[in-house]
Subunit: 583 residues, 2 copies
């Protein structure tokens, strides 16, 4: 047992990760982790991204996995280093993002005896890791190298398969921690670069759940499709939009679904459904795909659909429908149903399942979809009029939806930006891809997630976030200079948490500003100077359009800062909702 | 069941925390946590410190608990917010710091159904929390208010008692989340401000373990005391020093012990014991208190003491001692023994136990202590000569040990600073208190820990850290302006992790700089500008002395930056060790 055993086994491990499909890993500094870091860095098929802060590394890997569509690895040293990965691990678990966490640990004889940098890493992330395994310490025999190859495959496929999520492998490592001479007898793996173990995808055929879905669709007179975040399948959005158009079902699609496109898309459901009279357009079937969208009016409307309908005077016959049936297509059984209104959860991948139904569909009642489209057009007009062309938080969201090229990726912070994007993004067939950390809905790690998307994705990346999100992950900006990444940061700076003004807590004046809104007074020009980013204050809508064009084509990281006022932003949103109600 | 039930119960809870002795709490923004935050802020006996980043809040609370000597509370909202507390929770667990973590959560009906900002918070910190409890949701009956008062006391005393650590209370909270009118029928608690439940301290009498210790001391001809971090008892250091002096035992005391004082203190054991010939001074008894010091030479020497001694030719009779007996005084049974050489772990508080022995001691062989003192003096002289007065990382550590006033607190980052302080701090009877996160030995959270010490402690606080530690917790600087705290930051900037140059990994040139040393090129003057701190580049030793005098008396936060070179710092350390060996 010497250092070369460790390094031979880790070489087999890393080689196998690449054979399975991995392309990116994150590292951070440390001593105990040296064998892991050296092995990852020396694996020709991997690109390794170095981070000073493990928390940033975790979210960066998350962003890479989302944008790249493959599991990404994040390695760290022993001790609290691993604990900094917890926020990204929980987000990956909730959002079903495949992530491989590789933690270095002390060997058993150095645990719980006062040796340095040691915490109890066993099952560190609890149920947030779908698989935890303590790798142990081994001689690099041929048998054990084969076992290590199989372990790497198992970790990769477990992260990716079924409900994707986090696999945590804990590597106890003994000194010496650097190789001693050449590695011998390295196990060659399978011929032709194949993984040691492949895991075949599940059969995609429709089967019984598909037949049940078709029966529901056939029986419906007035169906609606609700589509939320589906980052795991970039093609699902188009399939959902095609289905909705063919069935004549209004499509209430969050931009995070990639489905706000095609003739059935109803872009402004969040604004429209704020008016309770919108309950007039009552469906008899709701098909849900992806996460539940953020929109509170939509969620409330879906909950109300379970109540027995009440016909307004004189329009009785239109409403002789039963309670709406609500069904979700969820291959992982995630149960996204806070209101308790679902009738069925069908274990189907939305994209393939809805695409398979296309030949079976007969076109629905055109009046039903027209009703929704007319309401959507009225809402769109009211929004445009109420917003004007002045630069405001909603206008920034709308503009990004119009101006970003199709090959761009937009990363959106939770809190106000994800809501403004849902409310104000237009319908667009060549819309940019939109990503957001909506598993646990935190504003944390947004900068690092965006840099990860920039590292592993294709096309330019833009991130829309508020000042609190930027302050929270300000250390993430270190990736700009150190990793030489290209990112455009659109910063909505209203010096605090604007979303809280919409909540009852805003009335608790003795505590609200200091402990809830938390203004900080930061001048982010200094943050740009610290981290080697460009910084531009944008004053008006035309200026933002021009600045976006300029930064998308230029290298490096730029912060485009839009200054707004929290109370004015709240008032503007309320004016927009009033205008829609009046329309 | 309405909001006022929640608020009445939380008022009883917070009132009780103050009755037990709590004085400080941290908050961070959120919606679900509004009842917790409002109740903490409105409790007159608590001072609440607002943080944008929960990770900073966690370390800030840790620093408050260390410096203030009482449990501090940290509250946060639901979702990943709580996961950001993990690093500070693990450090508090390992370092035995009493911390009360209060997490807001969704009620059961909104868990695991796609409601926003929800992760599985049940036992979120695993074994790192000594007690986890899900508080549940209750009507504020008189009985239940009494129960809540008892719960607060139990949480406080559990964090503080026996082995101090982390108590995690998870509060599911239902809407509405703000109070509705006046609170009625608030349970008054006990008369006279007493806590609902007191927990009496353990009896401090010596008992059998004390008698065993006395017997060991009486039988020893050549005892040595090794003292490590004892932050939990600020008086222990003096008691240990008095004991060592009275017994004539050389005292190898890390500055973190507060015991590097008095005539028995051997300040330069780390440097002296690097020379293996120092094994000449072989004890027959080692009494250990506090953590095991960081010094690798000391740890190696303690491990070697277990080997049967070999007498050098011609000096046989001096070495007719058996294998050294090694004993630790540890009231919590923490088992700080990586080398497996302890013979006994005595359940004694070091300060009271050693103080109780003072009347029983007969003075030891003065030649034994003199041998050590002479070696220490030689080492001190060699260090001074090798270092010179030039500004270097060791010189900064030595200077802080000489120049800081007795009432100051020095917070020291892990990695090089804690080692340089151990190696180069002088013996001094009125030394400043020294704190460091040595539970898990991470560099993380150092800035926030220091701000917490500044918030809850007395006297000025200085933190000594490197550039990687500052980059890791750069967001912690937000406390400077937002919370108006006074802190002097002594920054050793060698643009990367200098400690790694001392390790074999430094030879792995293809990966070392990018993935291990991680130079970042940050100009921290911009960080100072971003967070409203003063920034001064210090060029020489006299300049540092002058700058320290100036900043200790002035308000606000100042960064005193000392620029060094990593390879030159390594070479200087090696020159010092060579000079000591030559002496």
């Amino acid at each position: 047992m010497n250092a070369n055993d460790t390094f031979m086994l880790l070489r087999a491990f890393c080689d196998e990760l690449v054979r399975c499909g991995m392309r990116h890993a994150c590292t951070s500094p440390g001593s105990r982790s040296a064998p892991l870091v050296l092995s990852l860095v020396r694996e020709p098929g991997l690109r390794c991204w170095s981070h000073v802060d493990e928390r940033c590394a975790g979210f960066f890997a998350l962003g890479m996995a989302k944008a790249g569509g493959r599991p990404a690895a994040v390695a760290c040293t022993s001790g609290t280093a691993a604990a900094h990965l917890a926020p990204a691990v929980h987000e990956a678990h909730e959002a079903r993002v495949p992530l491989l966490v590789l933690t270095a640990d002390r060997p058993p004889e150095l645990r719980e005896v006062g040796a340095g940098q040691t915490i109890d890493q066993v099952k560190l992330f609890g149920a947030a890791a779908k698989w935890y395994f303590d790798v142990g310490i081994h001689r690099a025999t041929v048998d054990r190298q084969r076992w290590m190859r199989a372990l790497a495959c198992r970790a990769y496929w477990t992260a990716l398969a079924d409900r994707p999520g986090v696999v945590h492998l804990n590597f106890p490592l003994r000194e010496p921690l650097v190789p001693e001479g050449e590695l011998l007898e390295v196990h060659p793996g399978r011929d032709g670069g194949a993984p040691w173990v492949r895991r075949a995808p599940r059969p995609a055929g429709p089967g019984a759940p598909g037949h049940e879905l078709l029966r529901m669709v056939s029986e419906a007179r007035r169906g609606v499709v609700v589509a939320g975040r589906m980052e795991g399948d970039p093609d699902a959005g188009e399939a959902v939009a095609q289905f909705a158009a063919a069935a004549g079902f209004p499509l209430l699609a969050d931009p995070l679904s990639g489905a706000r496109r095609g003739p059935a898309a109803i872009a402004h459901y969040d604004a429209t459904l704020r008016d309770s009279r919108a309950a007039v357009a009552r469906p008899d079937l709701v098909i849900r795909v992806g996460d539940l969208p953020t929109s509170k009016p939509l969620r409330a409307w879906l909950a109300r659909l379970h109540e027995a309908p009440q016909a307004p005077a004189g329009r009785g016959e239109d409403f002789a429908v039963a309670r709406a049936r609500q069904v979700v297509l969820d291959p992982h059984g995630a149960w996204p149903d806070p209101a308790g209104v679902l009738e069925a959860s069908l274990p189907l991948e939305p994209g393939p399942a809805l695409r398979a139904l296309l030949p079976e569909l007969s076109s629905g009642d055109p009046a039903w979809l027209d009703l929704w489209r007319a309401a959507d057009a009225r809402t769109a007009g009211a929004i445009e009029k109420a917003l004007g062309r002045e630069l405001s938080e909603p206008r920034v969201a709308a503009l990004l939806g119009e101006a970003l090229p199709a090959q761009a990726t937009l990363v959106v912070a939770s809190s106000m930006p994800v809501r403004d994007v849902e409310t104000f993004f237009p319908t667009r067939d060549d819309a940019p891809r939109v990503l957001s950390n909506r598993g646990a809905n935190g504003i944390d790690g947004t900068v690092s997630t965006a840099f990860g998307a920039a590292a592993a994705g294709e096309g330019p990346v833009v991130v829309l976030l508020g000042d609190v999100a930027l302050a929270h992950d300000v250390g993430g900006l270190l990736a700009a200079g150190r990793l030489g990444l290209h990112l455009t940061i659109v910063l909505l700076n209203n010096d605090g948490g604007g979303i809280f003004h919409f909540l009852p807590i805003a009335g608790e004046e003795d505590a609200f500003e200091e402990h809830v809104a938390t203004p900080h007074g930061l001048d982010f020009a200094h943050a740009a100077a610290l981290y080697g980013c460009e910084h531009r204050l944008v004053e008006d809508t035309a200026g933002l359009e021009e600045a976006l064009r300029a930064t998308l084509g230029a290298p490096g990281t730029t912060i485009l800062e839009v200054r707004t006022e929290r109370p004015a932003n709240e008032a503007l949103h309320r004016r927009v909702w009033a205008a829609i109600a009046a329309a």
